[in-house]
Symmetry: C2
Subunit: 109 residues, 2 copies
DNA sequence: CCGATACATTCCGATACACGCATCCACTGC
DNA sequence: GCAGTGGATGCGTGTATCGGAATGTATCGG
């Protein structure tokens, strides 16, 4: 059950949350983190993104509470904050799968 | 289980999908449609958005497959395309609730 | 202390997007 | 056909944001 009343402030917060996912680069990062925490340089290699750019995206994801940061000496290790993160992605991907299948069916007739 | 391989094209599609939710105005529309389908003018009144602006947001939501359109004479009726839509919002809202509660707990100590 | 490494931050140009205004299009009723 | 209503679309403007280059900051080894 969602909040009965949606204040503008709440709407903005929810929107920001979604905005964190609304970027191919950031989704790429999230999928790279599926298998476990990675350092920034490992993420650079895994995603092909530039280091500065990636770092900024990580700040966004962290500010949105999507990923967690753990510092160890020179390295920063990032990880998915929560199982719900992938649940969200999979919900969207699942819908996509169903839709493309439906479209293929429609084309096949 | 999500697709094993995330191609750039797929990432872009998923990102666009999330982008549809990543705007306070559009979230407002979705919440207004919780109770059932509405015409554009009804949505104008329900949300306080300008007609032109609202119309554009509706195009975005429709293109993303989030809402359905039904034309009846002069009127266009929009409705949530699918129960998953609200599931998505509630997933995010639920996380928010838990986090704010945790934060309050932390402040209360 | 000095250089090197791993990230973060700032500055910049280019693009994208939201919103309002005006206009255009589709349909209805006279 | 004509006027009126409900929606959609095009244009202009301000703002946000992505991405890269350069710079700054913190930590480790020597």
């Amino acid at each position: 059950m969602p909040p009965a009343r949606m204040t503008p402030a709440l709407l903005a917060i929810v929107a920001d949350r979604f905005k964190a996912f609304a970027e191919p680069a950031r989704l790429q990062v999230l999928y790279a983190l599926r298998s476990g925490e990675l350092s920034v340089s490992e993420l650079v290699e895994a995603t092909g993104l530039g280091q500065a750019n990636l770092s900024k995206h990580l700040q966004v994801l962290h500010a949105a509470g999507v990923v967690s940061r753990r510092k160890d000496g020179l390295f920063s290790y990032y990880a998915l904050a929560d199982g719900d993160v992938l649940k969200l992605c999979d919900l969207v991907c699942g819908r996509l799968d169903r839709e493309t299948k439906q479209r293929q069916k429609a084309l096949a007739r």
